[in-house]
Amino acid sequence: MYAGFDTCPEDAFADFHVAVIRESGLLNWMKPRARFYFDGRPSFIPLPVSQSFAMLEWGLNWCVAAHGHQYLIIHAAVIEREGRAAILPGAPGAGKSTLCAGLINRGWRLLSDELALLDLDSGLVCGMCRPVNLKNASIDVIRRFAPHAVMTGPVPDTTKGTIALMRPPEESIAARDAPARPAWIIVPDYSPEASPELVPHDRALAFMLLAEQSFNYDIHGKNGFAAVGRLIDACHCYRFSYSNLEDAVRIFDRLAGGCE
């Protein structure tokens, strides 16, 4: 999953020191389990060894969401085209990871499938390009849509159902340090029978959604309020209903081309 990423020397500075380590003991010999370690301390409950990759990703997301308070952190996927970022906020099940995974296989750059990191000073969104977490039906959807994508095998019976990770495209990995200027806030709404529809979204409601989906809006207080307000002002806000990724690619490409 991390082929294409650099590795750093053992003594280099790191914000977080994490590990996933197999548990010892008779019980763990019979049912092998592993645990996530944060700065040398065991964190969270142990999970079956088969879920280790997912546990590493979930643990890394927690590290950033719980500590990266130099950013306003919003639960949202972020993709970019020609320097302009689309922020895709939404509750679990809204289809943001599927949409994100589909679009990054068709020319959009991945900044994150899970966390939008908004720099309060510059107003730019910073990248955190890492494997994309796919769940349940999304796994086969992406397999069919992007057969060349590198994915782990499906891991059943996790707390989120069956999950698989997808490696980001090489272009996204190479540009992972480049921030992007937010241009669109698009609230996805996947429904199996939905016709593709991109419609303007109420800005005040979009503000409240971003505030609710932020992990640290409360910590930033009035600066967080001001930052979300600036973000709303800087972006076109839409709701996007879809059931088919080919439709999504067509509509997002028109959007990037200035046709909406």
Binding site: A204, M208, G221
Partner: protein
């Protein structure tokens, strides 16, 4: 016999923000969001409620003064009492979430 009518009592209650320096507002056509620095809460307000709060940040006001300052929110055919009732309901809603206070009621 004429129906019994109740004389309209002018209400001298004055409304003002609980702490104007700790209120931040952002408005769009669809509504206003307000951050209350005292509580840390963010609220979504209707366009009229947002404009009432904006107006009160400028200066404390009675509901009659608010009606005079915000005529565009009301259809002409509505009775004045009806308009004042709407403003009063909104003021009490804003009071319930600790954004405004009322003083000077007789």
């Amino acid at each position: 016999m004429l129906p019994e009518t109740k004389p309209v009592q002018p209400d001298s209650s004055r409304w003002s923000p609980l702490d104007p320096d700790n209120l931040q507002l952002r408005s769009w056509d669809s509504g206003t969001v307000v951050y209350n620095g005292l509580s840390g809460d963010t609220h979504l307000l209707s366009p009229l409620a947002g404009d009432i709060l904006h107006q009160l940040k400028t200066a404390p006001a009675t509901r009659e003064q608010l009606l005079g300052a915000l005529p565009d929110h009301f259809r002409e055919e509505k009775e004045s009492d009806e308009k004042l009732d709407i403003i009063e309901i909104i003021l009490h809603d804003l009071q319930a979430i600790d954004l405004v206070i009322c003083s000077g009621r007789h």
